[in-house]
C-alpha cells in the first residue's frame, strides 16, 4: 500500500503558520497528549499550551502551540491556535524573563486564583513553559 500522509495545517490569527504533509502528528489536548496517524476517525479536541510533534520523512519535528482546537480526519489535521512557534524562533533568555515576570504577577495575586487576572497569568505561564519544554525537546533530539 502506498505511503499515506496527513496534511497538517496550523492556522493562527496572523496567518497560516504551517502547511505540510507528514506521517504522524502528536498534540496536547486538555485531556492529555494524543497521536494521529493516517486514517484516524474524525476527532475534535480542545488544545492546551504544549508541544506538537510531527514526523516528516522519518524525522520528528517539534513546535509549541497555545490553547486552541484540533480537528483531525483520516487525511488531515487542522490546528487552530492563538500562537505557534518553532524551536529556532524561541529565545530561551527572553522566555525565562517572561516566565519570571508572570510568576511574580502570580505572587502578587496572593492566592486569589480565580477570575480574569488569574486566567491571564496562568495563560502566560503555560505559554512560557510550553516554549521552554519545546527547547528542551529540540535539544534532546
Amino acid at each position: 500500500m502506498a505511503e499515506e500522509l496527513l496534511t497538517l495545517e496550523v492556522a493562527t490569527p496572523v496567518g497560516l503558520a504551517l502547511k505540510l504533509d507528514c506521517e504522524s502528528v502528536a498534540a496536547p489536548s486538555v485531556q492529555g497528549e494524543f497521536g494521529v496517524l493516517p486514517g484516524h476517525l474524525p476527532l475534535l479536541a480542545a488544545l492546551r499550551s504544549g508541544i506538537v510533534k510531527y514526523r516528516v520523512a522519518g524525522e520528528d519535528r517539534f513546535a509549541a502551540v497555545g490553547p486552541g482546537f484540533v480537528e483531525a480526519g483520516p487525511d488531515k489535521v487542522l490546528l487552530l491556535t492563538d500562537v505557534f512557534v518553532r524551536p529556532e524562533d524561541v529565545d530561551a533568555e527572553s522566555v525565562r524573563e517572561e516566565l519570571e515576570e508572570a510568576e511574580s504577577r502570580l505572587q502578587a495575586l496572593e492566592g486569589a486564583y480565580v477570575g480574569h487576572d488569574y486566567e491571564e497569568v496562568a495563560r502566560d505561564i503555560e505559554w512560557a513553559n510550553a516554549r521552554l519544554e519545546l527547547l528542551a525537546a529540540a535539544a534532546e533530539r
Binding site: 490569527p13 482546537f69 487552530l80
Partner: protein, 328 residues
C-alpha cells in the same frame, strides 16, 4: 491693492498645511496597507474556526442549547460601537456614530433597553454627549492592536452577555423540565438573585463598525454578534449524520471554548476592518485636502503676481510721469 507681504505669508501657511496633509496621507496609506495584510492573514483562521463551530453547533441538537446560541426576545441589547481615537478622517466617525444613534432609537422604540460599549474616543464622546448608557469604553486600542486586545474586549462582551444569564437559563430549563429550582442558589435570598440576574444579562449584542470596501468607500454595518448564528447550510445537515466527531472532552465543553473564541475573532476582525476603513477614509480626506491646498496656492499665487505686476506698473507710471514733468 492687497498687501504683497500678507499674500506671501498666506501662501507660505497654505504650503505648510499642504505638507502636513500630504504627510498624513502617506502615513494613512502605509497603515492601511498594514491593516489589509492583517485582514488577509486572519482570514484562513477565522474561516476555519467558523467551519469547526458550524459543524459542532449543527450537530449539537436541541437538547442543550448553549446560552451563547440561544435566541431570546431582545429586551436588553448592547451595541458595540467601533470608532477611531483620532479625527481628520472625513465622515468616518460621523457615519458610524449616526448608524449607532439610529439603531439605538429604533431599539428603544421597540421597547428594548440599550446599553453601549465603545471603542475609540470619538464614539465615546459622541454617545456621552447624548446621554447613552455606556458600560465600558476602550480607548487607545488602535495604538497597539493585537489579538490579545481583541480578546480582552471579546471576553468583556461575553462576560456582560452571560453574567447572570447562565443562571437564568438554567432556572428556565429546570422550570420547563418540571424540576424544583436549585436549592443553594435560591436560599441566598431569592428576591436579590432575581434582581441581579435581570440587571446583568443581555439578550443580544450588535457590532457597529465601518466595513472596508476600498479607500474611497466604507460601509457602516450593524452586525449581530450574540447570540451567535452559525451558518447552517443544507448540505451541512446531510453529512451531519455521516461523520460525527469524537469529541474531547465533550461537545458541550468544546462549545464553551469555541463560542467565546469565535466572539473574540469576530471582534478582532471588526477592529481590523474598522482600522482599514479609518485609514482609507483619512487617506481620501487628506488627498482631497492636499489637492484643495494646491488649488488655493495656485489661486493665491495668481493674486500675488497680479498685485506685484500692478505695483510695478504703478511705479513705472510714476517714474515716467515724473520724467515727463521734468521734460515739460
Amino acid at each position: 491693492m492687497a498687501n504683497l507681504k500678507a499674500i506671501r505669508k498666506r501662501i507660505g501657511s497654505v504650503k505648510n498645511t499642504q505638507k502636513i496633509t500630504r504627510a498624513m496621507k502617506m502615513v494613512a496609506a502605509a497603515r492601511l496597507a498594514k491593516a489589509q495584510i492583517a485582514i488577509t492573514e486572519l482570514r484562513p483562521y477565522a474561516l476555519k474556526t467558523l467551519d469547526v463551530l458550524s459543524s459542532v453547533a449543527s450537530r449539537a441538537g436541541d437538547e442543550d442549547v448553549h446560552p451563547l446560541l440561544a435566541r431570546r426576545d431582545q429586551k436588553k441589547v448592547m451595541l458595540v460601537v467601533l470608532t477611531s481615537d483620532r479625527g481628520l478622517a472625513g465622515a468616518f466617525n460621523a457615519n458610524v456614530c449616526k448608524a449607532a444613534f439610529v439603531r439605538w432609537k429604533e431599539l428603544e422604540a421597540e421597547g428594548a433597553h440599550v446599553s453601549f460599549s465603545v471603542i475609540g474616543r470619538k464614539g465615546r464622546d459622541f454617545l456621552r454627549r447624548r446621554g447613552a448608557d455606556i458600560k465600558r469604553d476602550f480607548t487607545g486600542v488602535f495604538e497597539n492592536l493585537s489579538v490579545d486586545r481583541a480578546g480582552e474586549i471579546g471576553r468583556f462582551i461575553v462576560g456582560e452577555y452571560t453574567a447572570g444569564g447562565l443562571r437564568r437559563i438554567e432556572a428556565e430549563e429546570r422550570a420547563r423540565l418540571g424540576l424544583p429550582p436549585e436549592e443553594p442558589e435560591a436560599a441566598e435570598g431569592d428576591e436579590h438573585a432575581e434582581l441581579t440576574t435581570i440587571e446583568a444579562n443581555l439578550d443580544a449584542v450588535y457590532l457597529i463598525y465601518a466595513e472596508f470596501k476600498s479607500a474611497m468607500t466604507q460601509n457602516v454595518v450593524v452586525e449581530p454578534l450574540l447570540p451567535i448564528s452559525p451558518l447552517e447550510g443544507d448540505d451541512e445537515e446531510e453529512d451531519a449524520g455521516a461523520v460525527d466527531f469524537i469529541y474531547e472532552p465533550t461537545k458541550r465543553a468544546l462549545l464553551d471554548r469555541l463560542l467565546p473564541m469565535y466572539v473574540e475573532i469576530e471582534v478582532y476582525r471588526a477592529l481590523l476592518e474598522s482600522v482599514a476603513s479609518e485609514h482609507g477614509a483619512r487617506m481620501t480626506a487628506m488627498e482631497a485636502a492636499t489637492k484643495n491646498a494646491a488649488d488655493m496656492i495656485d489661486r493665491l499665487t495668481l493674486v500675488y503676481n497680479r498685485a506685484r505686476q500692478a505695483a510695478i506698473t504703478k511705479e513705472l507710471m510714476e517714474i515716467i510721469g515724473g520724467a515727463e514733468a521734468l521734460k515739460g
